[in-house]
């Protein structure tokens, strides 16, 4: 019951501190992730809100190191792409950052390539 308590505590409180990211939106993204995603507990989006914050911080930090090497004070898309390509745990993002801006979804573009190659 601790799990239910965490969630209701945060909803009722607000004095526990605001989440930086909207929980309902996180939940929608989770639901859309795959066919076998059924039910999502109350605290799963809360775990994600922190995890996403850490993810953004890490990717931003690494992107910034690239920008600095290139002697710039503005972070550009290419810096993020470089950080993705050079970090092992960000492998799942490689197609996303190198895809066309018109077709950013990696799974869709990979699937399309497969279909075209086999036809």
């Amino acid at each position: 019951m601790r799990q239910a308590g965490i969630y209701s505590g945060i909803l009722a409180g607000g004095r526990t501190g605001p989440h930086l990211l909207p929980l309902a939106r996180i939940k929608k993204i989770m639901k859309k992730s795959g066919d076998n995603v059924n039910m999502i507990s109350g605290e799963a989006p809360i775990v994600f809100s922190k995890a996403c914050e850490l993810f953004i911080e890490e990717l931003t930090r690494r992107s910034w190191m690239v920008a600095m090497q290139r002697k710039r004070r503005t972070l550009h898309k290419e810096d993020v792409a470089s950080a993705v390509i050079t970090t092992d745990i960000f492998d799942f993002l490689v197609n996303l950052v190198s895809a066309d801006s018109t077709n950013p979804t990696p799974f869709a573009s990979v699937a399309m390539e497969t279909v075209l190659e086999s036809s």
Binding site: R2, Q3, G5, I6, G9, I10, G13, T16, L20, L21, P22, R25, K28, I29, M30, K32, S33, G34, N36, V37, N38, M39, S41, E43, A44, I46, V47, F48, K50, A51, C52, E53, L54, F55, I56, E57, L59, T60, R61, S63, W64, R73, T74, L75, H76, K77, D79, V80, A81, V84, D88, I89, F90, F92, L93, L96, V97, P104, T105, P106
Partner: protein, 127 residues
């Protein structure tokens, strides 16, 4: 498109907000303002972030959520459980190489759980 450009000059800011909103709803992403804020907090004070960089980050975060959720829900499927819970998400994060996040996240959850335990004790004293 031409109509937008004709009216564009005075409505430039609104158009940007609309564009962001449409993009976020259609491709289900976290709001660019929130994402941008987290990025800014981590960077030195006199640095800038291009809009494209923020948009790329939005894409990456959504992909991150999907990637981890799929792993977590696959675990649930194998264990014949219907509900993806916080532990499943933590497990998936560690499995996929994000084990460095585990420490801060457990502290984060512990902070909320402490609050919850305090409430629980307070409620018990009342009852």
């Amino acid at each position: 498109m031409e109509d937008n450009m004709a009216a564009g000059a005075s409505n430039a800011h609104d158009d940007d907000d609309d564009d962001n909103y449409i993009r976020e709803q259609e491709r289900l992403m976290l709001p660019i303002a929130n994402v941008g804020r987290i990025m800014k907090q981590i960077l030195p004070p006199n640095t800038k972030i291009s809009k494209e960089a923020k948009e790329t980050m939005q894409d990456c975060v959504s992909e991150f959520i999907s990637f981890v959720t799929c792993e977590a829900s696959e675990k649930c499927r194998k264990e014949r459980r219907k509900t993806v819970n916080g532990d499943d998400v933590c497990w998936a994060l560690e499995t996929l190489g994000f084990d460095e996040y585990a420490g801060p996240m457990k502290r984060y959850l512990h902070r909320y759980s402490e609050h919850d335990q305090a409430d629980h004790r307070a409620n018990q004293e009342k009852g």
